[in-house]
Symmetry: D2
Subunit: 356 residues, 4 copies
């Protein structure tokens, strides 16, 4: 039985993307130590005549390790297109480490989540005195959630962090994915993983996406241009939205691996996330913020006082190709999860925009 | 008479950095249309035995043009070292424009300022429906201001934006510079400008810095290693700070010009800001977030609906050298303003850390 | 009838990639003013017992305009993976212009082509006194061509430049493509173009690739994983090659448009070339040098003496999506041209490796 | 007694730049294992009425280790301004290693040196079958050396490589520095080093520059704007040069250390090279190609067959500041060596341009 909140996944429909097998949960949490937590915020009824704001938003936290505040993991980012935000990435570039949870949310709530991430450290990790640059990324949930109000409270951020678990990951309309739309289907959180064979080092790659991009006609599932035939399930615009707002959206990709990669190798892995997006039909449109972060759990990097040198395990450069393949496959499948899941054509699905 | 809050500036002490003359106010506002506003937050007395938090922080807003929300200016950024944050720069990279005020603050308040910047748009500019990615930059004022509490209210952000003016710019312990320390002097906001001669196109370059970096021994004024002889005015650490916290700090540089530069030319200008920092003695230390943003007021770029093409004025590439020289000189002088101003040696100055 | 040297193209086989129509020649030369020339070098017989080196190499020149030495075009590059070379790209980054032909060749001949490109200027364009940084790119033709000898003469470079024409482009085993292998088919030069409709501004995007990458099993044609079923046409390794050499190869993509794009917009276009490669199955392997250059013919940029400012046409940022779509489609089709063309299964094709 | 060819160095004139002491030779070769070799080419007499071309050029090789072809060192590059060339840097970025000598030469000879570097491998290191992307960098010696002819033979490249030694480094008019001009003094090769104290880990940083940039008025020696007073030793333009050619030139910086740095840390070190250039007065002019490469000799990285993982030593990030300081100081001093050495005012120096 699927965990509470799980719906049918692409693989359960017989769509087996790529060549490597998924991990036990086909989720980013198949990479040992990685935790995911959600806080979902829903208020108001888009079908009512109330003037109450309709809110469909949330926070999702990806922790590379439970005690990320005490020691970081090597990480890197890549920006395929820049109409989006992920904070804290200059540190990641130059100090090579991720020392915060990756916090995903809606565009309107970046500030609130950022502030809460710092409050959390001062309250719960007061011994941490450095690196006060949280990692907060966003896509725009304005099609489904009223942007005039900011609806995330610090407690939502704490809930996503402290409720983060390993095991199966709830996908779709949950956490930061609550208000997202992808290829004109209901989008949101998706995840997938791949396990490398013996000759690939038995490493695992896991991906979690916040998918909020794409026009229907562009959508491709495992090579099939499904978006060109599935034309009848187009979203009804939420009532607070004006009709002239286009939606080309954005996507955040979080890629994790237990392979011992350097920060540069991780940046190369992040670049391949873009290739996975391409396989789903993405053109990375002008108004898209397509940002990819990759990290490796293999080395824990202390930020202070390690002397005189660290000894870091690193995969030889001629061993990285299977990881490249894996991250492309997992990214493609993670997008098809929430984006492709709702094409069953039920009456309920047709009304997804009003009944969410 | 100097404007209220102005103190003696480097140039008034006979220190004339570089070769080009400054503009009328020797300030970033010498670039026509650029506005600067401050909101200063001071609470608590570091000399008292009260347990009330000691707060020395604020917000400074640099508006490239009064109606920046309606149409942007070409812009670019450069990161010399990455232990710092400036949000909104992926948009600047890919869409080439700055369509927000540049908001400066302390590390602890990035989230609050970010959130207020969005609230401001929804409240005051409700017709703006795109580009919800504010530009907020920070340096760490934790030596003088208690970081356990976040002290910036939305009203401070509104005050900095709506109070922004042209003309002389208040420097030093003001706005976002209130809690900053530079070369172990009291740091903060500094500004300077340069006017190019006829053969340089009579363009103006203005720089504003939030200076919060450097060890005393590194400090150089106009080529003189003054920091190696001025050893007696070292800061007393604020009482809430533990003694083991090093301070290598950060700097934000905002460079403006009325020369018609492309976004790439502006990025090259931003890179030269790093050369200006070097001339003051900066090594751009590991824990420094040294981020430079440059913009040109010469072209106003509409974000929507311009058809079929824009006609943008652009300086030929073989005309940029005077601008490079100017931004280096202005950056150097802007840092020496607040950093060098307090070396008079008065008893009051020696106690700057307690009496601020 | 196909032009001399042309073979059957993907589109002639009924494979119509993407949604926009191709230009008259379905070639990069559909962008007005762009010229392509080839010099092909073949020596030795891989089937003979002679000790004479077997050489299959050449030079291909893409001229953005006939008099590129007198005035450049705006340009930009993107590197998807770095095991490759394209010289002259720092100038392109900072001076924003391409002021040389793009010269493609084999890895072994980069130096020779570079040198000849400069000789050409001193001999034929002696008035040009600046920008002596030719653009030379390579992929490795060592599977089919002996690398111990360098076989390109200056005359080959001159031939490719001076023989460059508009109109149909010879593809496949020609010019710099002579020794290339792609997805374990015979690779080489491929080209395609797209024409935007009225609402896309009627602009043209053309792409030329030097395709030398990929493992057979990865190959996808228009969404169909053809490489997984076409397993019987694997290359026979040339006799001078040792059996332990893997081939993951590289690709150079040259993208042209007549849309007036800024250098940053062109860099964004170049990034989309990677998405086109992804659609053919590329994982951009570790040993791949995947480099993309994009230029616009719309503005001619003088390098010297333009005063006081240039007026450059530029497409508004919210008009770029059709161009993104077009470059992805054209890149995908250009790769499938030479890579997919030889899968007819004739006995002659099976022996392509010995009879080339 | 100075080695043959050595002239008086800045430090011998009492100019002691920075705070850390130099190594035994105050040269890049103070980093253990680093070798430097020169091949100098001089032909023709600028004072004669002969039509023979006047040639002042050469090749300088910096080997990070004697057997660099068998295993690389971690490396990175930074480009301060892009009107210049250093080949092979995409590999360095993505594969993180330098696996070739760094070969410096004049702009006109990049192709010849590149080709010879490959020939050298096929002839002398035939077992090397990968990474055929030599590292060749240039600055423009056209003020002193006729550019219409290419004067470097393969033998010069072999000579520079095979003659490379440790110990003192000949500076100035030697190797690739033969035709260079810096701050309107005779420029060329310069070198310097710094040794860190116990608390900096006793590491060494060495720098070698090919200095060919700057206008006299910009030149600063150890903070003193010497260029503004030393106005009488301006170069006489070589007779083959037209009078309208400006010279703003370029600089290549090669930085070496034995500290165990990651490729990212090395990139950060390379960025600091720019700060060292700034201290000598550089504005990194529009026509300058200012390119910096940094490598660490601490880890030898095999390119093939290492399994399953490498164990790389790496300095903790909070230990890098002394290295940043050292590379700034060494870069500054290396430039002042050849650039500042000739200001003694002897009659011979005044005629340097004719009697070279």
């Amino acid at each position: 039985m699927a965990p509470s909140g799980m719906r049918m996944r692409a693989r359960a429909l017989g769509i087996a993307i790529g060549t490597y097998p998924p991990g036990p949960n086909n989720a980013i949490t198949d990479v040992g130590g990685v935790l995911v937590g959600h806080a979902t915020v829903m208020r108001g009824d888009p079908g009512s005549r109330s003037t109450e704001p309709v809110v469909r938003t949330g926070v999702t936290a990806v922790l590379p390790r439970a005690d990320v505040w005490a020691g970081g993991v090597l990480a890197a980012t890549h920006t395929l297109n820049g109409d989006g935000e992920m904070t804290g990435t200059r540190w990641i570039r130059d100090l090579e480490t991720l020392t915060h949870p990756v916090l995903l949310t809606g565009t309107r709530s970046v500030g609130a989540v950022y502030d809460a991430a710092l409050s959390y450290i001062y309250e719960r990790r007061p011994d941490r005195r450095w690196g006060m640059l949280p990692v907060v990324a966003e896509t725009w949930d304005g099609l489904l959630s009223d942007q005039r109000v900011q609806s995330i409270e610090p407690s939502h951020v704490y809930e996503a962090i402290e409720g983060a678990t390993d095991g199966p990951v709830v996908e779709g309309n949950v956490g930061s994915g609550t208000g997202m739309v992808c290829y004109d289907f209901k989008g949101g959180i998706g995840t997938a993983s791949r396990q490398l064979p013996e000759r690939g080092g038995r490493y695992t790659v896991g991906v979690l996406v916040q998918a909020n991009f794409g026009s229907r006609r562009q959508f491709v599932i495992d090579g099939v241009p499904a978006g060109q035939t599935l034309t009848d399930l187009m979203p009804k615009i939420a009532p607070t939205m004006s009709s002239d707002e286009s939606h080309e959206g954005s996507v955040i990709v979080v890629a994790a691996t237990d392979a011992p990669l350097s920060s540069r190798q991780l940046e190369r892995l992040a670049r391949r996330g873009a290739l996975g997006l391409a396989r789903t039909g993405s053109i990375s449109a002008n108004t898209s913020g397509d940002i990819i972060i990759a990290f490796s759990t293999a080395n824990v990097v202390p930020m202070k006082g390690a002397r005189p040198t660290l000894a870091l395990a690193q995969l030889p450069t001629d061993s990285v190709d299977p990881l490249f393949q894996a991250v492309i496959e997992a990214t493609e499948e993670a997008v098809c999860g929430p984006g492709g899941r709702h094409d069953g054509g039920s009456e309920r699905q047709r009304r997804v925009w009003l009944t969410l």
